[in-house]
Amino acid sequence: MDYKDYYKIMGVDKTATQDEIKRAYRKLARKYHPDVSKETDAELRFKEVGEAYEALKDPEKRAAYDQLGENWKAGQDFNPPPDWDAGFEFNGGGYTEGNAADFSDFFESLFGRGASAGSAGYQHAGYQAKGEDHHAKVLIDLEDAFQGGSRSITLQSPELDNTGHVVTKQRTLNVKIPKGVKQGQRIRLSGQGSPGMGDAPAGDLYLEIGFNPHAIYRVDGHDIYLDLPITPWEAALGASIKTPTPTGTIDLKIAKGTISGRKLRLKAKGIPGKTPGDLYVIPQITLPPADTDVAIELYKKMEQELAYNPRSKLGV
């Protein structure tokens, strides 16, 4: 078990006042809240901060934690010295911001699981006997949204074992990905959440769909975007161009005088569904390099024979 430096996690001095600790917590909680933050480790950081605050906001726990001494470094292997908490009383009641189930072994070895039994988390409160719902994200490939498919996902969830200890259980589920899913949409798996209390049914598992980045396509809702490189002569003269789409290569007509970046919409070629999305092709005119005599000659010829000033609107 690693020693955790709660002051460092909170970014405050050991001499910080309770008020400073509270303010630091509020700030960090907003910054790392998983619903707000886009950082990948936000959830982890949020839990860490919640745990640090749980230890430091209560003057008794904080004093006991301080008592552990100055010599511990974060990450160092830690076992609480015997009687370290002698003379401290943890009543453990009252409002707590964190979800006690998320606290680390380090926290539990110091303050025990009961120390935060007063958790005000909605899930634990009250009369409800149905199991807790679980939420998870699953990343799929764009192709899965077109063809449908199945994904094997591994979930970790804390559960109570026979002796009443919390263990992290891993389970693997095979889930069917229906055709036509879009970014952010959810799949509900009935009865795959936490077991219910008594005879009550288990909670549900909600899977939120996300897409792995694709090598050539970008996804927005039901719509798909593709950058299509074209030559200057294809753009100027018009052409029929072989274009990839998620359902296979097509011949795309490019109009005479096509401009870079002007979207071409291919109706209903996006993600399928009751209202299928569209595929947007964005032509990008690319210049052939002038790296051979022939190419240089051609560019020079254009320079001499085409009276073209792209800067005429700039007045020069």
Partner: protein, 104 residues
């Protein structure tokens, strides 16, 4: 290892949830949901009728709202504002993404 493939329900704009479903999913009270509706955060598909129905988008919003309130102590008006801004950020990020400008 043999494993059965689970068939879930795809939640979309056609999925309809009752007030009760929504309360249970957020572990909250009907009063709290009604407050979110009157703040304009949630919009039942049939606002005029007595038996409200909600889409999954509303449920996601309500769940986020519940987490924001629990974890950050934000009140309903603050939640409404935060959700609107989060929506806007998401839209802008999607637009950046479509322009190929997102370095993520």
């Amino acid at each position: 290892m043999t494993q059965t493939t689970l068939n879930g329900i795809l939640l979309d704009e056609h999925t309809e949830l009752t007030l009760n479903d929504l309360c249970r999913a957020c572990s909250t009270s009907a009063e709290w949901v009604i407050e979110l509706v009157s703040e304009g955060v949630l919009e039942p598909v049939n606002y005029q009728q007595t038996q409200w129905r909600f889409t999954d988008v509303n449920m996601q919003k309500a769940q986020t709202a519940a987490r924001l309130q629990r974890d950050l102590g934000i009140n309903i008006a603050g939640i409404a504002l935060a959700l609107e801004l989060l929506d806007e950020v998401e839209t802008l990020q999607a637009q950046l993404n479509c322009l190929g400008l997102n370095d993520e």
